[in-house]
């Protein structure tokens, strides 16, 4: 953007003026404008307003870690050999001297021990991938709980969801590339899961691995998927995601001066250029420092892959953990019939795995259908003001974490001296029970917080000052809220439950009511019915209490 600067400094002006020409920066901008239309572009974007809230930087963390992954990934491709040809190791890591290993593993050792800074870049790449996935998870939750997915942003929610899913698979194909014992075990698990697919599973497996497992092809195939196919799609989605963020303008929380028709904050140039640009360096700096002190995926200690060997505590990277949980706690059901086997014990987890993710992805569309609201929403909800949504999100997270516990059941067993059988049974039951309990608890908490907000508006803030009245009674002094606070606490919208309406028309003819209509009315009642939201205080209620003539 510096080339598009339209703020010539006085000195430059004078110097340029003496020769009758515009300063160099302006001339460059003129040149670019004649070809790219940069002035028109900059007119609407250079001073674009971004609202400020700490949670808005979560998406930035994802964007920056994605850039870091691309930068370091390109460097790694300069040294990595995506080949499964077996070679004998002769590098500088003594304990593995003379061992047979694939070229992929060999070149990863070379990067780690013989390329100066190679280990650092490998570790930054891997750490950034973990941060990327964790960032996307938290960012997605921020968007979910504040209702930022509502119209007009549903498509951007879907873009973000796809980025999260593709990020998981890019991570999986990435950590499988070194062909080490741990990741190879993960790939074998994947093969077993593919084999469980009815009818075509065996064929899929043979096509993916170029024959029997492990064969000699999967590293090269994963490589092109990991460095080209998936990141290419993701880059496109990221660009689309950002264009939509700019086009829709950022959401903001309610507050004085903030409406659904404006966006209040500070301009891109200079404040957000410095803040967001600086934040890239902060994220990169922190990840580099972590990569300096915290070892990640030490493949030399794990050793090259051998299908007949395994280490204990085999765990995928964290974002794959919930699928690991599904596979670990599922009972081993196998159905044999007519010379065929239906491997339900593996296939059911394979089907639930995407369903867990889809459950949260489709939620915005379900909510839009229940509310029937077709307006644009740019003011964020506080989670408490959407109790059913918040409860659903909390239940989903608890579901996800129950499965994460299942994915690490061996670690829970060894670290806390628990029975692995007991943990497995706990997860099997918790899979069904915990989300329900969390849903109920989260909803109660939201309603409680709504009641507190209502109290605060009507009776003021508890000041903590105890006052003794002349007749000896002690009371706590309540401070009334300012108009800013009153406005902020009462500006949220409350929907009314959808009514089915009269079932008989004006001529007395009975109208047929569709099942979907009934369901919608029922859901709407569960969302916005009497017990499911606390009516926010009205001006009349407030005045009645504050006028001093109320009948309270």
């Amino acid at each position: 953007m510096s080339t598009a600067s339209t703020n010539p400094n006085p000195a430059g002006d004078a110097a340029g003026g003496s020769r009758g020409r515009a300063p160099a920066g302006e001339r460059l901008a003129d040149w670019a404008d004649g070809r790219l239309g940069v002035y028109t572009l900059a007119k609407s974007n250079m001073r674009k307003i971004f609202p400020d809230h700490w949670s808005f930087m979560l998406g930035e963390v994802c964007l920056y870690s994605f850039l870091i992954i691309i930068l370091t990934g390109v460097y790694l491709t300069l040294f990595f050999h995506p080949s499964m040809n077996e070679v004998v190791y002769h590098g500088s890591y003594v304990p593995l001297q003379g061992q047979m290993m694939s070229e992929a593993f060999n070149s990863t050792l070379h990067i780690s021990f013989d390329v100066r800074g190679g280990l650092l870049i490998r570790q930054i790449h891997h750490w950034a991938a973990l941060v990327f996935l964790a960032g996307m998870f938290v960012h997605m939750m921020r968007v979910f709980f504040t209702g930022a997915f509502r119209k007009p942003r549903e498509i951007n929610w879907v873009f973000g969801f796809l980025l999260f899913v593709l990020g998981m698979f890019t991570g999986f194909t990435g950590y499988s590339l070194p062909d080490d014992l741990l990741s190879g075990t993960g790939v074998r698990f994947m093969e077993g899961a593919i084999l469980s697919v009815p009818i075509v599973g065996t064929y899929l497996s043979f096509f993916l691995f170029g024959g029997q497992f492990p064969g000699g092809d999967f590293v090269a195939r994963f490589y092109s998927i990991h460095i080209l196919l998936l990141p290419g799609i993701m880059l496109g989605l990221v660009v689309g995601h950002l264009i939509l963020v700019v086009y829709h303008k950022h959401t903001q929380f309610a507050g004085p001066g903030k409406t659904n028709n404006n966006v209040v904050g500070m301009p891109l140039m200079p404040v957000y250029m410095a803040k967001a640009g600086g934040f890239f360096f902060l994220v990169f700096g922190v990840i580099a420092a972590v990569a300096a002190i915290a070892q990640i995926n030490p493949i030399w200690a794990i050793g090259p892959y051998r299908p007949d060997q395994v280490s204990t505590g085999a765990q995928p990277d964290w974002y794959m953990g919930f699928s690991e949980g599904l596979i670990r706690v599922m009972p081993g059901w196998e159905v044999n019939f007519w010379g065929h086997t239906l491997v339900l014990g593996v296939f059911i987890p394979l089907v639930i795995f995407p369903l867990v993710l889809v459950a949260i992805a489709v939620y915005p569309f379900i909510e839009a259908w229940v509310t029937g609201d077709r307006r644009e929403h740019h003011i964020l909800d506080r989670p408490r003001n959407a109790p059913t949504r918040t409860a659903f999100g909390a239940a989903w997270i608890s579901w996800y974490f129950v499965l994460l516990v299942g994915g690490g059941n061996d670690l829970w067993a060894t670290h806390f001296h628990l029975s692995i059988n007991a943990i497995t049974w706990f997860v099997r039951i918790a899979f069904f029970v915990v989300p329900v309990l969390v849903f109920i608890a989260a909803k109660r908490i939201c309603l409680g917080l709504q009641r507190r907000d209502r109290d605060k508006v009507l009776h003021g803030r508890e000041s903590g000052i105890i006052k003794r009245l002349p007749h000896g009674e002690f009371i706590e002094v309540h401070e009334p809220l300012s108009q800013e606070q009153l406005h902020t606490l009462t500006s949220h919208e409350q929907y009314q439950p959808v009514e089915i309406g009269p079932t008989v028309d004006e001529n007395g003819v009975e109208r047929k009511i569709k099942g979907s209509e009934k369901l919608r009315s029922k859901l709407s009642g569960a969302y916005y019915g009497d017990a499911n939201q606390i009516p926010k205080p009205t001006v009349d209620e407030y005045k009645e209490l504050t006028s001093g003539h109320g009948h309270h």
Binding site: I49, G117, F189, V271, A291, A292, R306, G332, E479, E484
Partner: protein
């Protein structure tokens, strides 16, 4: 606290401003939007000294970054790649990795910290309101676009010339099949490959660790021995693919302890040989509990009872481990008496 407890004098409107109370400006609607609050000056906005201190802090951070980059270059050139250092409390680290990472981290972090400090303390922090415009087009625009579309569609004659339309859809629907065809050679068809392993009648059981053929006396009670078929060497081209199916684990039980009749028949002096590949999703099983004769797969904790036909006693596996029938040849070595009778490893559709 309910409103019943509050005497009238303490209700919000009754309280005077001297007690820190705030008045509500809009008498009609106290919940109305009061508009953007007035801008509050930072100390840097009114005190040039403070502003200069901020300027120096930012400049210092940028200088730290420059020094750290020089440190990165110096570390890269001077530190030997194999040098390791002890850093409390982390432990032993590669000196090169530690130095490069920290200097790079500091160089980047300082740039970021400088920029953010600059933005927060010196750049204007006046909040500005920008208008939003609805995404939806105005009715006029919509009418115009729809009319244009109809005009374009009409000019194309797509709707009128059905023959063109139908054949075009046919061609567009068919051509991706070429792409699908091209995927056919990604791999061979499965055939019966998953049903067979390298084991066959007369193949010796070779100890995986020593690479020597096993005699019954080599297998002690309570130990777990891994074996491969004779002739399969690490430097064979298809070693990985073959061992992925043929890997074997051997234990010696007291013949009295073997509960399964067929297991006893297929054993030799209490020595039993089972596939090492878990029937769940194919991890190699490696944990043996000698007292109970249970083996445990470390990946997903499927547990098999080797004294009872290797049936599943816990975990997600769906069927028992296949057993290899073994005997002893004329020279006194353990040998296989055939291939596994059922496919090893995870179940699949054609397994039956």
């Amino acid at each position: 606290m309910s409103s019943h407890d509050i005497p009238e004098e303490n209700l919000p409107a009754e309280q005077d401003t001297a007690h820190g109370a705030v008045t509500v400006a809009d008498e009609e609607n106290p919940f109305a939007d009061p508009g953007l609050p007035p801008h509050e000056h930072r100390v840097q906005d009114i005190d040039e000294q403070a502003a200069r201190r901020s300027e120096r802090t930012v400049a210092m951070l940028f200088t730290v970054s420059m020094l750290a980059t020089l440190g990165f270059i110096a570390s890269y050139v001077t530190i030997p790649t194999d040098k390791s250092i002890f850093v409390f409390p982390i432990g032993h680290l590669s000196a090169m990795n530690f130095a490069l990472g920290l200097t790079l981290g500091v160089a980047l972090f300082a740039i970021g910290a400088g920029a953010v400090h600059w933005a927060r303390t010196l750049m204007s922090d006046m909040e500005i309101a920008d208008e939003r415009h609805p995404v939806e087009a105005s009715p006029e625009v919509k009418t115009k676009v729809l009319a244009d579309f109809k005009q374009g569609a009409k000019e194309s004659q797509l709707g009128r010339r059905k023959l063109i339309r139908n054949t075009m859809f046919g061609a567009l629907a068919l051509f991706p099949l070429s792409g699908v065809m091209l995927l056919r050679d990604l791999g061979p068809l499965p055939g019966t490959k998953l049903r067979h392993t390298l084991w066959s009648k007369g193949k010796l059981l070779v100890n995986m660790n020593t690479n020597e053929p096993l005699r019954p006396s080599d297998v002690a009670v309570g130990s777990l021995t891994f074996a491969k078929p004779e002739g399969l060497e690490e430097n064979n081209e298809d070693f990985q693919t073959e061992i992925a199916k043929a890997a074997l684990m051997i234990v010696r039980l007291q013949p009295d302890n073997i509960k399964d009749k067929r297991e006893l028949e297929w054993s030799h002096q209490g020595i039993v040989a089972f596939s090492k590949i878990c029937t769940h999703v194919g991890c190699p099983i490696s944990l043996y509990e000698q007292q109970t004769h249970h083996v445990l797969c470390p990946c997903h904790q499927s547990t098999f009872d080797l004294s009872d036909g290797a049936r599943v006693i816990f975990g997600p596996a769906g069927h028992a481990l296949p057993q290899l029938r073994i005997g002893v040849n004329a020279d006194g070595y353990l040998e296989a008496l055939g291939d596994f009778e059922e496919p090893v490893g995870p179940a699949f559709w054609e397994r039956g």
